[in-house]
C-alpha cells in the first residue's frame, strides 16, 4: 500500500471524476462529498509520498507505471519520480485543491447551480493533470498532462459568465500555442537523444557536444512554450481576463496553481533535463532572461496599479510574481533558485488566500470593484484577518513567507550582481504595499462612518469581537460568510505564517534539489 | 518517383491550408480542412506511419470535420475574413 502512494495521488481524483460521471448527474448532492473525499485521499497520498521522499536515502521516490522492468536503469514504461521539489509541489497542489473544494461548496451552488457535476468532474481532472505534471518523469507524458489540465481549465473558466467565455477562448488559443511549442521542443530533444525519460535525456545529453543546434532550438521552444503558459510578460495577454472572470472556485484553484506548475516545469527542465551547466554557462542567456523578468515585474506592477477591479488587480500581480520566479530561476546561483522555488510555494498560498478572500467579499457584497472593501473590518473581521495576513505577505513583511522568499531572491540577485532585478523586486514590493494598504485603509476607515451610524465604544467592541457570530449580529448579514469558506481561508493564512517561520526547513528540502547548482558555483 | 509524389503532396498541403483559411464560407472552410487532413493521412501512410494515418483519418479528418460542421450549423456560416 505504502509504495503505491505516488500513483494513488493521481488515481484518487481520476476515480472521483469517474464516480461523479456515473452518479453525479442523477444525484447532484453526491458530487461535493465525493470530490472532498477524493481530494482528501489524494492529499493524504501526497503527504505520504512526501514522507517516503524524506525517508529514502537518495531523496527520490521512483515508481514505474505497470512495472515492465528497467533497461540500463531506465524504466521502459512511464516513470514517476518524486524528488524534494516535486514532493513539495505535490503537497502544495493537493492541499490547495483540497481546501479549495471545501471552499467551493457555496460558490458553486450559487454561481453555476445547473452545472455542479460538470464542475466537479472538470475540477478533479484538472487537479489530476496538475499532479501528474509534477510527478511524471516522462517528457511526452508531461505534454499530455499539460494538455489535460489546460483542457479542463478552459472548460472550467468557460462555465462562468459571458466575459469568461471570451477569455477562455483566448486562453485556448494561447494555451495551445504554448503547449505545441513545448511539444515541438520535446521532439527536438527526442531527435537528439532518442529517449523521453527526463533523467535519461539528461545522462545522454551530457555526452553530446555542447553546441548542438537541435538542443538549443529544443530548449528555446520548450522555454517559449512554458513562458506562454505561465504568462511571462509580454506573453501574459490571456491571463488577466481568464482568471478575473472565471467562477470564484475556478479562479481560486487556477490562479495559484496553473502558472506555478508551469514554472515548476521550467525549473524541472532547467535543473533535471538540460542541467544547470548547459542552461547557465553554455547558453549564456541568463542576462537576457533576467532582464526580461525585470521588465515583467515592473510592467505587471504598473498594470496592477491601474486596475479598479479586484481580481484584475490580483491577476496582474500574478504576472509580476511570475517575473520574480523566472528571474530567480535564471540568476544562475543556488540562492536565486532556492528563492524561486520557495516563492513558488509561498506565492501559490498567497494568491490562493487572496482569491478566496476576494471570492468571499464579492459573494457577500456583490461588488467586484475595489470599493467593495469599504468598512469591511467591522463587517467581516475574520475574512479581513486572512486578507491582512495575505496582504502583508504579498508586501513582504516578516514573519510571513512572502518576506523570506523575497529575502532569498534578493540575496540571489545581489550575489549575481543583477541589481536591476533587485531594484524591480523592491519596486514591486512597494507597489504591492500601495495596492494593499489602499484596500486595508478602505476596509479600516469606512467602517466607522459608513452608513452614518454614530460610533459608540461598546458597539465598536462588539462588532470587533463577535462580528462573525451570526446569532449575535442579526443585522450584519455581511458577516455571515459560511465556515466552509472561512475555514480554508484561515488555514491558508496560518500556513502563510508557518511557511515563513519554518522557512529554513523548507529551504533545506529545496536545497536537496538545487545541490547540483552549488557544485556549479564551486567549480567557478 | 515516390519522392516527387511526396513533394507534390506537401506543396498541395500548403496550398490547401491557405485556401482553408481564406474562404469566407465557414462550411467550405471546414470541408477543405477535412481534405487537408486526408492529404495528411496519405502523406503519413506513405512515410510509414500507418497507425497515425488511420487515426488521423478517423479522428482528425472524420470527427474534427463533423464537429466543426456541426458548430458552423449551430452558429453562422459567414466569416468576415
Amino acid at each position: 500500500m505504502v509504495e503505491q502512494f505516488p500513483i494513488l495521488i493521481e488515481l484518487c481524483p481520476l476515480f472521483g471524476a469517474i464516480l461523479i460521471a456515473i452518479l453525479g448527474f442523477r444525484m447532484p448532492k453526491l458530487c461535493y462529498p465525493i470530490t472532498v473525499l477524493a481530494m482528501a485521499l489524494s492529499c493524504a497520498a501526497a503527504i505520504g509520498t512526501f514522507m517516503m521522499m524524506l525517508a529514502s536515502p537518495s531523496g527520490t521516490v521512483i515508481y514505474d507505471l505497470s512495472g515492465w522492468g528497467r533497461v540500463n536503469d531506465t524504466a521502459i514504461s512511464i516513470e514517476y519520480r518524486v524528488d524534494a521539489l516535486s514532493a513539495l509541489m505535490l503537497v502544495l497542489i493537493s492541499s490547495v485543491a483540497f481546501l479549495n473544494v471545501i471552499y467551493s461548496k457555496v460558490r458553486v451552488a450559487q454561481e453555476t447551480p445547473s452545472k455542479i457535476p460538470h464542475f466537479y468532474i472538470l475540477y478533479l481532472l484538472l487537479v489530476a493533470g496538475l499532479e501528474g505534471i509534477t510527478i511524471t518523469n516522462d517528457a511526452f507524458n508531461l505534454y499530455v498532462l499539460v494538455e489535460i489540465s489546460s483542457l479542463t481549465g478552459y472548460a472550467l473558466i468557460a462555465i462562468g459568465s459571458k466575459r469568461a467565455v471570451i477569455s477562455s477562448f483566448n486562453y485556448v488559443i494561447m494555451g495551445t500555442i504554448g503547449a505545441s511549442f513545448f511539444l515541438l521542443g520535446v521532439g527536438y530533444l527526442y531527435i537528439k537523444t532518442g529517449t523521453l525519460n527526463m533523467s535519461d535525456i539528461r545522462s545522454i545529453m551530457e555526452a553530446i557536444p555542447d553546441d548542438s543546434k537541435a538542443i538549443k532550438v529544443g530548449f528555446m521552444l520548450i522555454m517559449i512554450g512554458v513562458w506562454v503558459k505561465m504568462a511571462f510578460f509580454p506573453l501574459h495577454g490571456w491571463l488577466p481576463n481568464a482568471y478575473a472572470y472565471a467562477p470564484t472556485a475556478t479562479g481560486a484553484l487556477m490562479a495559484p496553481l496553473v502558472t506555478k506548475v508551469m514554472i515548476y516545469i521550467m525549473i524541472r527542465m532547467m535543473l533535471s533535463v538540460f542541467g544547470p551547466e548547459y542552461v547557465y554557462e553554455t547558453l549564456g542567456w541568463t542576462d537576457v532572461v533576467v532582464t526580461l523578468s525585470t521588465i515583467a515585474i515592473v510592467a505587471g506592477s504598473f498594470f496592477a496599479l491601474s486596475r479598479s477591479d479586484l481580481r484584475k488587480m490580483l491577476t496582474y500581480i500574478i504576472v509580476a510574481e511570475v517575473g520574480y520566479m523566472v528571474g530567480g530561476a535564471w540568476l544562475a546561483n543556488s540562492q536565486g533558485m532556492t528563492g524561486a522555488i520557495y516563492h513558488l510555494l509561498s506565492d501559490a498560498l498567497m494568491t490562493f488566500c487572496l482569491f478566496m478572500v476576494v471570492g468571499i467579499v464579492v459573494s457577500r457584497t456583490g461588488d467586484p470593484k475595489l470599493t467593495a472593501f469599504q468598512g469591511l473590518y467591522r463587517k467581516m473581521p475574520i475574512t479581513m484577518v486572512g486578507f491582512t495576513i495575505a496582504a502583508l505577505s504579498m508586501i513582504g513583511l516578516p514573519p510571513t513567507c512572502g518576506f523570506f522568499s523575497k529575502w532569498y531572491l534578493l540575496r540571489g540577485g545581489i550575489e549575481a550582481g543583477q541589481y536591476h532585478y533587485v531594484g524591480a523586486l523592491l519596486f514591486s514590493s512597494l507597489v504591492n504595499a500601495v495596492l494593499f494598504f489602499r484596500l486595508i485603509e478602505m476596509a479600516y476607515y469606512h467602517g466607522a462612518h459608513a452608513h452614518g451610524e454614530p460610533i459608540r465604544d461598546e458597539d465598536h467592541e462588539q462588532y470587533r469581537m463577535h462580528g462573525a457570530d451570526p446569532d449575535s449580529q442579526p443585522k450584519e448579514t455581511l458577516a455571515n460568510a459560511p465556515w466552509s469558506m472561512l475555514g480554508p481561508m484561515l488555514v491558508v493564512a496560518i500556513g502563510l505564517i508557518a511557511l515563513g517561520v519554518f522557512n529554513s526547513t523548507v529551504t533545506e528540502w529545496i536545497g536537496q534539489v538545487v545541490a547540483n547548482l552549488n557544485v556549479l558555483e564551486g567549480a567557478n | 518517383m515516390i519522392a516527387v509524389f511526396d513533394i507534390c503532396i506537401l506543396i498541395f498541403l500548403v496550398a490547401i491550408a491557405i485556401i482553408a483559411l481564406s474562404v469566407k464560407d465557414l462550411l467550405a472552410s471546414a470541408m477543405i480542412l477535412g481534405i487537408y487532413s486526408f492529404l495528411m493521412c496519405l502523406l503519413w501512410a506513405e512515410m510509414g506511419a500507418v497507425d497515425v494515418a488511420f487515426t488521423e483519418a478517423a479522428v482528425g479528418a472524420g470527427v474534427s470535420t463533423v464537429i466543426m460542421i456541426a458548430t458552423v450549423y449551430q452558429t453562422s456560416r459567414k466569416s468576415s475574413d
Binding site: 513582504g396 513583511l397 516578516p398 529575502w407 534578493l410 545581489i414 476607515y445 459608540r456 529554513s504 | -
Partner: protein, 492 residues
C-alpha cells in the same frame, strides 16, 4: 565579557504582548482593562531591572529562538545600549499608561480597547528592537512596530487621520522595504552569512568607500523613524494620533527606535573603526546637521503645539544621528545619552500638550496666552522640560549635549559644532515665548480662563514625575552614564 543565556529578555518583551489578552478579555470593564496595562508595565519594568545589575557588572544576556535563515538566528542580546533604551521605554510606558487613562477617559475616546491593545504590542516591538542581537531581528521588530502603531496613529478614523496614517506608513514601510532590506541583504552577502552586531566589523577590504557610503546612506535614510530630512514628514503627520501615542511613540518609542537602529548601524554593523578609515560618515553628518537647523526653523513657524513638538523632535533626533556620525568617542556616548535625556524632556512636553487639550480643548499656541496661571503645574513642567530640550543647566539635556559638543570639537568639525550651538539658540527661540506668554501674556479677546482647571490627576502626575526626572538626571545620570560607558569601552 560574560555571556549569560537567559529567558528574561524574552519575558520582558512578551510581557506587554501577553497583556493584550487580559486587555481584550476585560474590554467591558475599563478599570480591569487598564489595570492589566499597568500590571504588564510594572512586570516589564521589573524584568528589565532584574537584568540591570548584571549588565552593569559587564554581563551580556542572550536568548535565541530559532535559526530563521541560515546563519541568522532570531536572537535577543542585551547589552548596555539595549538596556538603556529598554529602561527608558519600559519605565515611561507605566507613566504613559496612567496618563492615557486620564486622557482617554477625559476625552471619552472610542475604541479604547483597540488603543490599549496596540499600545501594548508597540511596546513589545520596541523592546524587541532594543534587545535585538542582529540586524535581522531588529528589522523584524522594526516592521512590527510600524504596523502596530498604524491603528494608533489613525485612531480618530477621520479624514485627517487617514491622510496622516497614509503618510506614516508609506514613509516608514517604503524606506524600510526599499532601503534597509536590500542594504541588509547586501551586508549578509558580503559579510559571509552573518548579521550579528558583534560579528560584523571587519569590512576593510570587503567594501570600498563608495559601497560603504551607499550602504550607510541606505541604512540611515532607510531607518526613516530617525527622521533625517527628507524622510521626516511622517512625524508631523503622525501627530493626528491621540496625545499619549504622540508622547510615548513619537517622542520615545518609535523615533528612538529609529535613532537606536542608526546607532546600531554605526557601532554594530559597519563599525565606527571602519567608518573612520573610509571617511564617508561626514555625508550623514551634514544631512543630519541640515535637518537640525531646518527643522528648528520650521518649528518656529508652527502654531499647533503638537506639530511644533514634532518638528522639535525631528531636530533632536538628528542631534543623535549627527553625534554618532561624528565617530568621536564622546560624541557617540553623547548620542546614546541623549536618548534618555531627550525622551524624558520630550515626553513631558507632549504630556503637557495633551493635558492642555484635555483641560481646555486648545491645540494652538496662540490660544494659550495666560493659561499658565490657570494650569501652573502643567506649564511649570513644560518650562522645565523645555529647558532640558534646549540643554540648559540643571536639566539632563545639558549633559548629553555637552558630550556631543565635546565630541564635535574633538573631531575638528567646527561647522557641525556650530550647528549644535545655533540650534540650541533656535530651540530657545521657539520654546521660550510659549512659556512666557502662558505665564505673563494676557488671554486673547473674549477668552476667559477663569473656569479652566488642571487636567485630571492621572494626566498631571505623570508629567510632573517626568519633569522631575529630567531635573534629577542632571544630578544623578549615573546609571545611564555607566551603560553608555560600557558600550564605548567594549568597542575599544
Amino acid at each position: 565579557m560574560e555571556i549569560v543565556t537567559s529567558i528574561i529578555p524574552l519575558l520582558a518583551c512578551l510581557a506587554s504582548l501577553l497583556a493584550v489578552i487580559p486587555i481584550v478579555v476585560f474590554r467591558k470593564s475599563p478599570n480591569l482593562r487598564e489595570a492589566a496595562t499597568v500590571v504588564a508595565g510594572v512586570a516589564k519594568l521589573s524584568l528589565v531591572l532584574t537584568m540591570l545589575p548584571g549588565i552593569l557588572s559587564g554581563k551580556v544576556y542572550e536568548f535565541t529562538f530559532i535559526e530563521i535563515i541560515e546563519g541568522i538566528p532570531l536572537q535577543f542580546r542585551v547589552d548596555g545600549l539595549g538596556m538603556l533604551f529598554a529602561l527608558v521605554a519600559s519605565s515611561l510606558w507605566i507613566l504613559t499608561s496612567f496618563y492615557a487613562v486620564g486622557y482617554m477617559r477625559g476625552l471619552k475616546e472610542h475604541a479604547q480597547t483597540r488603543f490599549y491593545s496596540f499600545f501594548a504590542i508597540s511596546l513589545s516591538a520596541t523592546l524587541g528592537v532594543a534587545f535585538s542581537a542582529n540586524l535581522f531581528t531588529l528589522y523584524v521588530f522594526y516592521e512590527m512596530l510600524s504596523l502596530a502603531t498604524f491603528p494608533l496613529v489613525t485612531h480618530n478614523q477621520d479624514k485627517e487621520a487617514r491622510s496622516g496614517g497614509r503618510t506614516y506608513l508609506s514613509y516608514l514601510l517604503g524606506t524600510s522595504v526599499g532601503f534597509v532590506l536590500p542594504a541588509m541583504i547586501f551586508c549578509y552577502v558580503k559579510s559571509g552569512s552573518s548579521l550579528s552586531f558583534t560579528e560584523l566589523h571587519d569590512w576593510s577590504g570587503v567594501l570600498d568607500p563608495s559601497a560603504a557610503l551607499l550602504l550607510l546612506l541606505l541604512f540611515v535614510f532607510g531607518f526613516a523613524k530617525a527622521g533625517i530630512m527628507p524622510f521626516h514628514s511622517w512625524l508631523p503627520n503622525a501627530m493626528v494620533a491621540p496625545t499619549p501615542v504622540s508622547a510615548l511613540l513619537h517622542a520615545v518609542a518609535v523615533v528612538k527606535v529609529g535613532v537606536f537602529s542608526v546607532i546600531r548601524v554605526f557601532t554594530g554593523v559597519l563599525g565606527t573603526d571602519f567608518l573612520s578609515t573610509v571617511d564617508v560618515a561626514t555625508v550623514v553628518s551634514w544631512a543630519a546637521g541640515a535637518t537640525v537647523i531646518i527643522s528648528s526653523l520650521i518649528a518656529m513657524t508652527q502654531d499647533n503645539l503638537k506639530r511644533l513638538l514634532a518638528f522639535s523632535t525631528v531636530g533632536q533626533l538628528s542631534y543623535i544621528t549627527l553625534g554618532v556620525s561624528l565617530l568621536a568617542t564622546q560624541a557617540v556616548q553623547g548620542s546614546m545619552l541623549h536618548i534618555p535625556m531627550h525622551a524624558f524632556g520630550k515626553i513631558t512636553l507632549f504630556f503637557c500638550a495633551g493635558a492642555i487639550y484635555v483641560a481646555t480643548g486648545k491645540k494652538y499656541i496662540s490660544q494659550m496666552r495666560g493659561l499658565g496661571r490657570a494650569m501652573p503645574w502643567t506649564f511649570g513642567a513644560f518650562a522645565i522640560a523645555a529647558m532640558s530640550v534646549i540643554g540648559l543647566p540643571l536639566t539632563g539635556g545639558l549633559l548629553s549635549k555637552m558630550y556631543m559638543i565635546w565630541g564635535a570639537a574633538n573631531a575638528q568639525q567646527h561647522a557641525l559644532l556650530a550647528v549644535y550651538l545655533v540650534s540650541s539658540v533656535l530651540n530657545g527661540v521657539y520654546f521660550f515665548p510659549i512659556v512666557y506668554r502662558a505665564f505673563l501674556g494676557k488671554p486673547a479677546d473674549g477668552e476667559m480662563h477663569d473656569r479652566v482647571k488642571e487636567a485630571p490627576l492621572a494626566c498631571v502626575i505623570p508629567l510632573v514625575i517626568t519633569a522631575t526626572v529630567s531635573v534629577l538626571l542632571f544630578f544623578f545620570p549615573g546609571v545611564f552614564f555607566e551603560l553608555t560607558t560600557l558600550m564605548i569601552s567594549s568597542k575599544s
